[in-house]
Assembly symmetry: C3
Homo-oligomer: 145 residues x 3
């Protein structure tokens, strides 16, 4: 454990994990806010408890909520892969420099990805996604070879 | 490795991970059971193989299956964040007491979240979700500061 | 850290993580390719930037894209659970043999699951899913007892 605490590569990974976790939680809040704003409830119990003035639950997500859910879905498909790859990469004896570049590039790219997604900015969103994936492929290759 | 085995904080995290994993698998079975019960297949090959008596695949998920899928989606967005945060928190030298409270509170809140979701109990479901998120923010803050 | 590098069980887990990560990324590319082929855009900005010749964004995913998204959703629900369980199992002092069988069986089952899903082969897809889940239950039981 002491070795891990002294490992600069692990520290980098740890800080990036915490930032990404807060980003993921932010996206959950974002979707929730869209749901309240558009009063777009799907669960009948949500409409009853949170929708004031007799809103009824719909069968399909409102456009704003669906947009928020797509952001969360993209995160759910991509970020856990980083959690695993980054950890294994760092625990396999990555150099502090390698960990620094891979982890920070990935983290910044994913934060920007959400900013771009919220603001409907293309092709910047796709570029951020691509940068994140490139980091993941680089780390996977480092582990395998 | 021996250090990890002797670490009480890591043991707590390990047991909570195993419980959460079984909870996630339970939700997959739950959705599958709803699909069989409502005979709500989306993939044509599923309807052919699992739907007796010439059921056809639909274009939209049945209400029961969609309900199960929302439980799984909420898990997929939230629980991997705990896997990563909890591990980093514990490996960064968390006290056994800190790990105990964060890990068990999160784990119990998420198990109850599923119970509430299945039974359509609000605002209890939202409260369980909030408690889980509070644990995650606490661990992220511990890592960052 | 040196102990981890020398641990055969950890090496097995690390390689399987890298393979699974590449598989997850492949599924993202697969869905993206289906989207381009079917020109099935949901975000207006995607249709504008990537859809040549005035394609408009739809309100519902095209059948091909929805099929790809179901593959990704199944991964997002199942593979992070392996990342966490496998790591904890290996760090808790798994034998090299136990790690070998659990990790490789799971990894091969999940790669085949995607092959089966893409080709609409049932009940083979369900069998692959079940084998993966059996490995996860086995690892969870090893951690708990």
């Amino acid at each position: 454990m002491e070795t891990l605490l002294q490992s600069e590569a692990f520290r980098t990974y740890a800080i990036c994990c915490a930032i990404l976790a807060l980003k993921v939680l932010f996206s959950a809040f974002y979707t929730g806010a869209q749901r309240q704003k558009s009063r777009g409830y799907i669960n009948a119990e949500d409409a009853r408890v949170f929708g004031k003035g007799g809103v009824e639950a719909g069968a399909v997500e409102s456009a704003e909520v669906a947009h928020g859910l797509r952001i969360q879905r993209n995160d759910a498909e991509n970020i856990p892969t980083f959690y695993a790859l980054g950890l294994v990469y760092v625990l396999s004896g990555a150099s502090p420099m390698g960990a620094f570049w891979y982890c920070w590039t990935y983290t910044i790219a994913r934060v920007l990805h959400t900013v771009m997604y919220i603001n409907h900015w293309q092709p910047w969103r796709a570029i951020c996604f691509g940068i994140g994936v490139a980091c993941q492929i680089g780390m996977a290759a480092s582990i395998l070879f």
